[in-house]
């Protein structure tokens, strides 16, 4: 049992940085990210012995992380949670302030998407996965990935026109 646990610890330690980033993008707040990651890792730990023997724990973890997010309601509170302390402690330099605003706009806009749309965008544009791999991670068809991506981008433009502008500005640079 101890050996199993140590193997699990080692596997997770090596991936915790990237996993934390994905969890944060999916949930949009630190509590939610921690919560989501823990839920996914509990599932992984529960099947660790078999998954480690089969040699594909990574694929399982990605699938379960996204599935947990899409099917969960955990951070759906009446009031959106946004971290306060880390940013408030920073000095508000002009460049930094512009960055802060840009991140805020994206975060606000992502909050207006459905969970599946948000997951599709993170998989496609952050994890840089193909449509086929995205479909596999979400357990849906490639057609669904296409339609959800298209609808999510359309909705982003609607709920945050300023974001579309930012995307265009960045593309021009």
């Amino acid at each position: 049992m101890l050996d199993d646990d140590d193997g699990f610890r080692e596997f997770v330690r090596a991936r915790l940085g990237p996993l934390s980033r994905v969890a944060y993008l999916l949930t949009g707040d630190h509590h939610g990210a921690e919560d989501l990651l823990q839920s996914a890792l509990i599932k992984l730990a529960g099947r660790w012995k078999r998954l480690a023997a089969e040699g594909y724990p990574e694929a399982y973890l990605r699938k379960v992380l996204y599935h947990e997010h899409v099917s969960a309601w955990r951070s759906r509170a009446r009031r959106p949670e946004v971290s306060i302390l880390p940013l408030a402690d920073r000095a508000a330099h002009t460049d930094e302030a512009a960055d802060v605003v840009r991140r805020l706009v994206l975060r606000q806009a992502l909050d207006k998407l459905t969970r599946k749309q948000r997951a599709v965008l993170v998989l496609r544009f952050f994890e840089d996965l193909s449509e086929a791999d995205t479909a596999q991670a979400l357990g849906c068809s490639v057609g669904t990935v296409k339609s959800q991506t298209s609808y999510a981008l359309g909705r982003l433009r609607v709920v945050a026109p300023e974001l579309a502008q930012l995307m265009e500005e960045k593309a021009l640079r």
């Binding site: 646990d5 699990f8 915790l16 996993l19 934390s20 994905v22 969890a23 944060y24 993008l25 630190h30 990210a33 921690e34 919560d35 990651l37 823990q38 890792l41 509990i42 599932k43 992984l44 730990a45 529960g46 899409v70 099917s71 969960a72 309601w73 955990r74 759906r76 509170a77 009446r78 009031r79 946004v82 971290s83 306060i84 302390l85 880390p86 940013l87 408030a88 508000a92 302030a97 802060v100 605003v101 840009r102 991140r103 805020l104 706009v105 994206l106 975060r107 606000q108 207006k112 965008l121 993170v122 544009f125 952050f126 981008l153 709920v159 930012l166 995307m167 500005e169 960045k170 593309a171």
Partner: protein, 385 residues
Amino acid sequence: MTGLSELFHDLADEAKFYDVTEGALRGARRRRRARLAAAPVAVVSVAAVVVAGLTARADSRPGPGPQATPSVTASPARVLPEACVPQVLPLADGYTQGMVVGGDPTGRLLVGSLDVSRERTRSVIWADGKIQLLSPPGTEFGVTDINSSGTAVGNSLDGPQGKEVSVAWVLHDGQYTTLKGEAAQAYAINSHGVIVGNVKGKPAVWRSLTAEPQLLQTNAPAAAVYVGAAYDIDDDGYITGRVDTPRMSPALWRPDGTLDSLPDAVDLAAISNGWVLGTSRSGPARWNLRTRRMDPISQAGLTRINAQGWMAGIHSYKKVMLVAENEALQLPVPAGVPTEQAAMTFLSDDGLTLAGWYGGDPTGDEVVAVPVMWRCASASTTASR
């Protein structure tokens, strides 16, 4: 769309290192033990009992009304209720999950959403435990609050396809009204029907159903794209919220919409009868607006506050707590609900009705959320029986 990829990477830089490895190992062990020990329990049968229980208590309730609430300065040293009984609230036919998100100060009306995780959110009101489905305009984000007159507020996405905008709606006397203002969102309503939220990313208040929104004072630069929102309003008109620019900070507004301030506050979660629940630089705290005194709170995770200054929330993992002054009461978990997650979203002014939801994924196949209400007997009621 490379711009979006870069934006995602910028946003991901805000992530911390969430080291939950040991928690996950403990959780997996707990689950293994629970799976071995527990037999499945039918939630449906619990729900059926609830309706009868709620109907029975409707007639015996004391008269509601904000005027009955004690003032902050004369807050009586009431003891916490001794017995709280959890009840699972009923769902509508065809729906499998539900969450309570708020209620009116008397506790007679609760609001919530069904099937949030299934991308077909449906807002509901539980009036004395009887469920009523709402049909606001647009694609729902969900109902957010209700007052004692039964006026509810919520948000939707509405408009022609491809040109949808967020709209704030009000349900009053059976009629839906859309609040004025572009890209409006409503988060709370007080007993006088004053509504707070934001308009195009700027904190705002609506003095009536038909009023133009009044923007609340902020120090944000005029060109700021997103400023913040007002999330709660007291009956005397004081408003709490958050402003995200030029620095992320909690906001407190006077009834006239000008900025007030609470030194040392880093977050303000809720306001009721001059009590403000939030977080100070040194941890969870409660402020008395009349004396401006700040009291530290030993329990973390409290999310609601009532007219007596009592607080409720999830302290530590899954422990639903009701807290008053130095007293704390842990509420029982209803039988048969998944308990991986929990949220406390409502506390009545008399402290005798609490609500929230439990959830989890007991089978590993599908996430379920169960709306729950607690009815408590006050210490004096118990003694007189």
